[in-house]
């Protein structure tokens, strides 16, 4: 249980950190596709006997390149390309699992995670990745935002856009590969998007959004674990619901002072 709490705090912080950029750049669907398409890599790695983080990372890089290549084709936009890659990866992973024995157990833990059974190794990996991502964002955060809001200006200012975008995608990929084996796809998506979307409602300043987002992420993790223990429901589901509740409360709270904006 101690490890589960540590993992919830670390994963919440990690997801909150990267989530700011996912929400600002509107990459939620891409994140969803990554979580699903990393799956066949993890399964294949487990079957062959390679380390699962390696398999997941490799599959994720393939997906990122695939979406980028497909969406440049005539008439194919990013949403459709992402959808195609998502279905292909998902079907491949599920098909691979189904050929193995005892697969239903693996599938459900892939979807909703098994945060209660994480060990010291998972927590260490998450902590290390948290450090790496914090450094990357501290160094590159400004250029990510610049390139996102004003690509032309960023190019004129001498940034290499392809490199900036690729760095951001690979960082997102790194977070997903770290978090999904421990907490599952649905929880990973919820922890990445919901706290950051809630934080975005409170402020327009990147530093404030990031701090709030990390805070919301950690709070969702802790409160969800607590609720899950008390009411005997799946931990991943409880954390997701707390994260969604924070967003709904933020929506309600930030709308009260400014009723004129309401649609």
């Amino acid at each position: 249980m101690r490890w589960a709490i540590a993992e919830a705090v670390l994963a919440g912080a990690l997801a909150g950190l990267i989530g700011v950029h996912v929400v600002l750049r509107r990459l939620s669907f891409f994140t969803m596709a990554l979580t699903h398409a990393t799956f066949p890599g993890v399964v294949a790695a487990a079957i062959i006997g390679v380390h699962i983080y390696l398999g997941g990372a490799l599959a994720g890089v393939l997906v990122a390149c695939g979406v980028a290549a497909l969406s440049r084709r005539r008439g194919q936009d990013a949403a459709a390309a992402t959808g195609v890659i998502l279905s292909a990866g998902f079907a491949l992973g599920v098909g691979l699992v189904a050929t193995q024995n005892g697969f239903s157990r693996d599938l459900s833990s892939f979807l909703v995670g098994s945060i209660l059974t994480v060990g010291p190794q998972d927590v260490t990996v998450t902590a290390v990745v948290l450090g790496v991502v914090a450094v990357v964002l501290a160094v590159g955060g400004r250029s990510f935002v610049f390139a996102g809001f004003d690509p032309t200006g960023a190019r004129a200012a001498g940034y290499r856009l392809g490199l900036v975008d690729l760095t951001l995608l690979v960082t997102i990929e790194l977070v997903i590969v770290t978090v999904v084996p421990a907490v599952g796809t649905i929880l990973a998506l919820a922890l990445i998007v919901a706290p950051a979307a809630a934080a975005r409602l409170w402020s327009d300043r990147l530093a404030v959004i990031t701090a709030l987002s990390v805070g919301f992420g950690v709070a969702s993790g802790l409160a969800g674990l607590l609720l899950s223990g008390r009411y005997d429901i799946a931990a991943g589901a409880a954390i997701t619901l707390v994260a969604a509740a924070i967003l709904v409360l933020s929506l309600a709270a930030t709308r009260i002072p400014r009723p004129a904006v309401a649609a």
Binding site: A80, V84, S87, A88, V94, A190, L201
Partner: protein, 285 residues
């Protein structure tokens, strides 16, 4: 393989779904609703769970219908208000609704087997009654599409123009989201989430590589889905019977559909070269 009656029923179910998914996927493609379609496949899950708990297998259909309609309304309202970006709102609705389903299921004992059924569906055990239900839904969906088609196209390619011409954008969006929800409800119990999301996204995306006329895209999407359905069933049948490899039918169908997409991509590029720089339809927001 069609000497086995259950394979005939499985193919009949897939054929019905091909008939509705061809046209509907064209609108999913034109309006860029892939993520919404993905969200709907997940959000019907709590409805399935509650329906099953309340009324057994008979309740699944009603539960899924209620959950699908609720999601369609919630997504339309959240995106209209403009407080959250579309994709963030969709992601939150998806994860929250799915988690409600998981939380409910996790309090029962047969936890994993339910989830597995939900993922794969039970295409090989489709009953004549389920086939009849799908057929009725298919007629309803095609009627709704036929009524909405022109307005949806207008709204997809020229949102300002359609609003100026008096179309209510919110109602059109809600209508399309409801149709997608109905498709998900019709398909999810038989073929599972893995296949539904593929059926809603891949046919139109594949057809788009070789044509940019919408009716042709719809027809080609349906034909592709039919072929993939037949080939997928055959592959999974052969793999299980002759080679002892457990390959689920839904997975095989999806993989063959995606394969068709991959094959059509270079074909489309060749055609683009010969036709010259055709105007890029399908790019409208």
């Amino acid at each position: 393989m069609f000497e086995a009656p259950f394979m005939v029923r499985a193919f009949a179910e897939l054929a019905l779904l091909a008939l509705i998914c061809g046209p509907v996927s064209v609108f999913v493609f034109a309006r860029r609703l892939s993520f919404v379609a993905d969200a709907l496949t997940h959000t019907v899950f709590p409805g399935v769970v509650i329906g099953f708990a309340a009324a057994g297998a008979e309740g699944i259909f009603g539960g899924a219908l209620v959950a699908g309609v609720l999601t369609a309304v919630a997504l339309t309202l959240l995106t209209r208000a403009g407080l959250l970006s579309d994709d963030a709102a969709t992601a939150v609705v998806l994860t929250a609704m799915f988690s409600v389903g998981v939380a409910l299921v996790s309090r029962r004992s047969s936890y994993t087997s339910d989830l597995t059924t939900f993922l794969f569906g039970r295409i090989l055990t489709v009953t004549p009654r389920q086939l009849a239900e799908t057929a009725v839904l298919a007629v309803v969906i095609l009627a709704l599409v036929a009524v909405g088609a022109r307005a949806w196209i207008f709204r997809a390619f020229d949102p300002t123009g359609s609003a100026a011409a008096g179309f209510r954008t919110t109602w059109l969006d809600l209508w399309l989201n409801l149709v997608v929800a109905l498709v998900v409800v019709a398909a999810v119990r038989a073929v599972g989430t893995v296949l539904v999301i593929a059926l809603l996204v891949v046919p139109a995306a594949a057809a788009r590589t070789v044509t940019d006329r919408l009716p042709a895209m719809a027809a080609l999407g349906t034909v592709l889905t039919l072929l993939a359905g037949y080939a997928g069933l055959w592959v999974s049948w052969t793999a299980s019977i002759d080679y002892g490899v457990r390959l689920t039918s839904a997975t095989a169908v999806v993989l063959i559909l995606v394969l068709a997409y991959a094959v059509l991509l270079p074909v489309g590029r060749l055609r683009a070269k010969t036709v010259g720089r055709a105007k890029t339809v399908g790019q409208a927001r």
